[in-house]
């Protein structure tokens, strides 16, 4: 498949040493080279043809790549050096809560007693795991002010869809046919997509000029066909929906339920509870608020907690404590069924419980307080040269706009993002939420120090200065990274999704 092989020992793709392209695993491959070592089984070496009918056997061979262990290590270690991460520096990414991921939680996940357990092993042999998950469910319920939860959803989006199916099951059980879900225009894209997959239609509620749900429009949109509303609070621009009680009342009065997108839970954990605001369903992104690492895009975990009236429909099985004190798995007959192949992203769940155990109630409250403190400090500090989209106290994140810079100097949000890479920071979230023109959303999280916030502010100040004096240099940014700005259009136009594509 490959007729040449690249040197594994040459490190010129390493930012430490050069700027070469890193060969692919396939380019490094040499036929006959090997790396794997397996146990000596002592089994009779019967030919495969004697075990499996030839109709099933692949007449050719699936080629992987044939590299030495030395080259395998060099390749992936070098790739890791071409990758930004929380462990290297700040990610002020709004809506993502890229906080420090405690190594302690990794150590928990590395316990053989946890990661060596087969998911179909009977309850009697997995008491530790079931208890762990049972406790986690209790903690999440306490944190959100709900009555029960499922731990199965593997990420936030899966949690959303699960929550919507719970809302559906609730209405159906009451014989009600409701077809619409309200969503504010600032919502994350997963929300409308989940609504559709939940079998509902989306009705978009515009935000008012304060960046909040327009209560009057909302009330007008309600009706007997509305199954519920999906909100994030604080919402995706980082503002608290101050009229949440009125919203909840209006929705409940019309027979609808309230869904809480918990992506922004970091702003309120230990301070407020979605349940107290009137929400019926809450998903949590454990990979945000509870610091389980993002893994370059996953795995996450998106448990869903619900109020009393939705508990009967929760996916099963759920961990339960039997009368004799032992732990077991239980599914109600009214359950909507499973939403994951097994019990959810169990090791992620264990990490989250580790995080919660260390913090406790007081620690979690401090998390929210300092996350909000950092965001507001940054908002005020940045307002000296970059306008906030909404100029008042924010929660855990703050949304700015580069619209003025764009108008004046042709420097877009993206240019600022790329400029920030050159300055030693990951970029903020850009162009989300859609309701803010040239949005730049900064979420510092509580684990960054004020020194880092100040350094970020100074970097942004320099970039704004460059926008005035040398906008071209920002269009050309970043230049210090392993690759310079990549051609995204070409990637889509001439799709090459595998090394074999031509």
């Amino acid at each position: 498949m490959i007729d040449f092989a690249a040197p594994g020992g040459r490190a010129s793709s390493l930012p430490l040493l050069g700027r070469d392209v890193e060969p692919t695993l396939f380019e490094m491959s040499v036929a006959g080279r090997r790396c794997f070592q397996l146990r000596t089984t002592g089994l009779p070496q019967i030919a495969i043809e004697e075990l499996i009918p030839s109709a099933h056997l692949n007449p050719s061979t699936v080629e992987i790549a044939e590299v030495s262990e030395r080259d395998l290590v060099a390749h992936f270690t070098r790739l890791s050096h071409r990758q930004f991460s929380v462990d290297l520096g700040m990610y002020p990414l709004g809506s993502c809560t890229m906080k420090y991921n405690p190594k302690f939680c990794d150590a928990v996940a590395a316990l053989t007693g946890l990661n060596g357990v087969h998911p179909a092993a009977p309850a009697s042999l997995t008491q530790g795991w079931i208890e762990l998950l049972w406790i986690l469910e209790q903690r999440l319920v306490a944190i959100t002010g709900m009555a029960g939860a499922t731990l199965q959803p593997a990420a936030g989006a899966a949690g959303e869809l699960t929550g919507l199916l719970l809302i559906r099951a609730y209405h159906e059980a009451r014989g009600e046919i409701r077809t619409r879900i309200l969503i504010p225009d600032s919502a994350h894209g997963t929300n409308p997509a989940s609504v559709t997959l939940g079998g509902y239609e989306v009705t978009t509620i515009p935000s008012n000029e304060r960046g909040l749900v327009d209560l009057e429009v909302l009330k007008r949109s309600l009706g007997p066909d509305v199954a519920g509303i999906m909100l994030t609070n604080p919402n995706t621009v980082g503002l608290f929906e101050e009229e949440i009680q009125e919203i909840a009342k209006a929705v409940h009065d019309s027979g609808g339920l309230l869904y809480y997108d918990g992506a922004n839970l970091n702003a309120i954990v230990g301070v407020l509870r979605p349940g107290d605001m009137g929400f019926d369903v809450v998903h949590m992104n454990l990979h945000k608020t509870f610091a389980t690492p993002h893994g370059g895009g996953g795995p996450g975990a998106g448990p869903v907690a619900v109020s009393e009236r939705l508990v009967p429909y929760l996916p099963g099985p759920r961990p339960a404590k039997a009368d004799d004190g032992s732990f077991e798995w239980k599914t109600t007959t009214t359950s909507i069924g499973r939403v994951h192949g097994w019990h959810g992203n169990a090791l992620v769940l264990a990490r989250a419980l580790a995080y919660i155990t260390v913090h406790g109630d007081d620690g979690l409250r401090r998390v929210a307080q300092h996350a909000v403190l950092n965001a507001n400090w940054l908002r005020v500090r940045l307002s000296e040269f970059l306008p906030a989209a909404y100029d008042r106290v924010c929660m855990h994140e703050t949304t700015l706009s580069a619209a003025a810079l764009k108008a004046k100097y042709g420097v877009r949000g993206l240019d600022i993002a790329k400029g920030l890479l050159e300055e030693g920071f990951h970029s903020p979230t850009v162009y989300f939420p859609l309701i803010v023109d040239e949005a730049l959303m900064f979420e510092p999280t509580e684990t960054e120090s004020v020194q880092t916030l100040e350094a970020l502010a100074l970097a942004l100040e320099r970039i704004v200065g460059r926008a005035e004096t040398d906008p071209e240099s920002l269009h050309a940014a970043p230049r210090t990274t392993p690759v310079s700005r990549v051609d995204e259009a070409r990637a889509a136009r001439m799709l090459k999704a595998t090394a074999d594509a031509t």
Binding site: L25, F26, S29, R33, C35, Q37, G42, I46, I52, P53, T61, E63, A65, V67, V73, H75, F76, S80, Q83, D87, L93, L114, P119, A120, Q127, G128, A142, G156, L165, G189, A193, T196, L197, F240, E242, G270, L272, M277, H294, G295, G297, P299, R338, H340, G341, W342, H343, H359, G360, D362, H370, N376, L421, T447, V450, V483, S484, E488, A497, T498
Partner: protein
């Protein structure tokens, strides 16, 4: 209470002063008081890491299953994960990175995922892979949604040989999409397609091997799909690609698979790795992220997430999938594990699984009362009927150091078409390349003892 907050008291005071505030509570002044917790949340006070470690070590110690020699499978397999793969897959740049939305500082994850995609494509025999889904069960759901998006139909024909949890998950999500799911029963362990009405079906789904470990003749399903203009979805054990025909070779339009066998520990079921690939013409409905090759402004090869317009953050309510975070770290790990295995290693693992399973299958003959459920061809897993309840046998075998298998009754629940009759005495047994002959021999002796007593 412990936390990871750097702020000193003095710094907090300074920061509040900068904001013109007096206390941290002022930050929340705009929130209705009625909503604020007065007594905190009802969870225990925090403890230090080493105190918490005591607790978690206790949890771990009470999972006896972790200490047993594993003969359980049912979609989760005890494969070798060598130290080198663990070391590379746990590099903190991969672990603590965000989704690679800024490609200039994310070439590490992007290239690793590109390599993963290439490997998924080769293993599936299909040209268009994605960057991963949550697991195989939700992968099935995505595949069904894709089929319905492509075909504009909602009837789904699913073999009862597809893993029961995958089918259950499909049923759950069908509540939202309104898909009509028709399950096709098994006869003698293999799908009996004879009575099923596939007219108007969007997709036909078959497991290969099916969840009882048996090798289905996928060409029958392919013919049915052709005859009814439906898509063929094959859910395959990716380890089988070391020996058996790929999904693509059987003519599948969509491949789904559970990627856990590629470097991910058993982990009590997660995080695992949903593998997904499809035919060229289905690309616009592909769920999830896809990484593509491109160049930077200086013409150097570079990678980027592409075809974003399909995804929920751009398409919103019109997207056919809502997936956002996926299982990237497991995908990176799978690329590493496959790089470790190489062509020969993947074949060797598959062969060793098959040999071990067939050896055990033969040896079990010698135990009176243990009936092998089917004589159809199988790969690395098979089902037996015991003279005692499978759950009892498993608990007894555990005392002897073995996780003997998976009880079908526990796995399937009550109403499952896949294995008619009394499930309670049926047990699924899997063998991986980690099991030696002497371990298998010891297993047979132990099981003989258990069924005799």
């Amino acid at each position: 209470m412990a936390d990871y907050i750097p702020h000193t008291t003095a710094e907090v005071a300074d920061m509040l002063e900068f904001l013109g505030m007096n206390s941290l509570d002022d930050l929340f002044a705009h929130i209705p008081d009625a909503l604020k917790l007065s007594r905190g949340i009802d969870i225990p006070a925090g403890v230090s890491e080493p105190d918490a470690a005591v607790l978690f070590n206790e949890f771990a110690a009470r999972n006896d299953a972790a200490k047993l020699l594993c003969f359980a499978g049912a979609g989760a397999y005890d494969h070798e994960v060598p130290p080198v793969v663990k070391a590379l897959g746990s590099r903190s740049e991969f672990v603590t990175a965000y989704t690679p939305y800024q490609p200039e500082v994310a070439q590490g994850v992007l290239q690793a995922v590109f390599e993963f995609q290439t490997l998924v494509s080769r293993i599936s025999g299909l040209p268009i892979p994605n960057a991963s889904l949550y697991d195989a069960a939700t992968g099935l759901v995505e595949a069904l949604n894709m089929a319905s998006g492509v075909k504009g139909r909602s009837k789904m024909i699913i073999s009862a040989g597809v893993h029961p949890h995958w089918r259950q998950t499909a049923h759950t999500f069908a509540r939202g999409t309104g898909h009509e799911i028709v399950e096709v029963p098994l006869v003698n362990g293999l799908t009996d397609w004879s009575a099923v009405d596939c007219t108007n079906a969007a997709a036909i789904v078959v497991g290969y091997p099916n969840f009882l470990g048996l090798l289905e003749d996928v060409s029958v399903a392919r013919s049915l799909a052709d005859a009814n203009d439906a898509l063929l979805i094959v859910g395959a054990d990716p380890i089988a690609a070391g020996l058996l025909k790929t999904a693509g070779q059987w003519g599948a339009d969509i491949f789904i698979g559970e990627g856990q066998p590629f470097g991910t520990a058993l982990s009590y079921g997660g995080p695992y790795l949903g593998l997904f690939a499809c035919a060229e013409e289905l690309i616009r409905k592909l769920p999830g992220r896809i990484v593509g090759e491109t160049v930077d402004t200086e013409g150097r090869r570079a990678y980027v997430t592409t075809l974003r317009a399909r995804e929920q953050d751009i398409r919103r309510e019109k997207a056919t999938s809502n997936i956002c975070s996926n299982q990237t770290l497991m995908a990176v790990t799978a690329a590493i594990q496959l790089g470790w295995l190489g062509t020969a290693g993947l074949r060797e693992v598959a062969l060793s699984c098959a040999r071990g399973a067939h050896y055990l299958f033969e040896e079990l003959k010698s135990i009176e009362g243990v009936v092998r459920l089917s004589d159809e061809a199988f790969f690395r897993e098979f089902c037996v009927e015991l003279p005692i309840a499978a759950e009892v046998a498993i608990v007894e075998m555990a005392k002897r150091g073995f996780l003997a298998g998976v009880s079908l009754a526990q796995l399937c629940g009550d109403s499952d078409l896949s294995t008619p009759g009394d499930l309670s005495r049926k047990m699924l047994i899997a063998v991986t390349e980690k099991r030696t002959k002497s371990e298998i021999d010891a297993y047979v002796s132990a099981l003989r003892e258990v069924v005799a007593s």
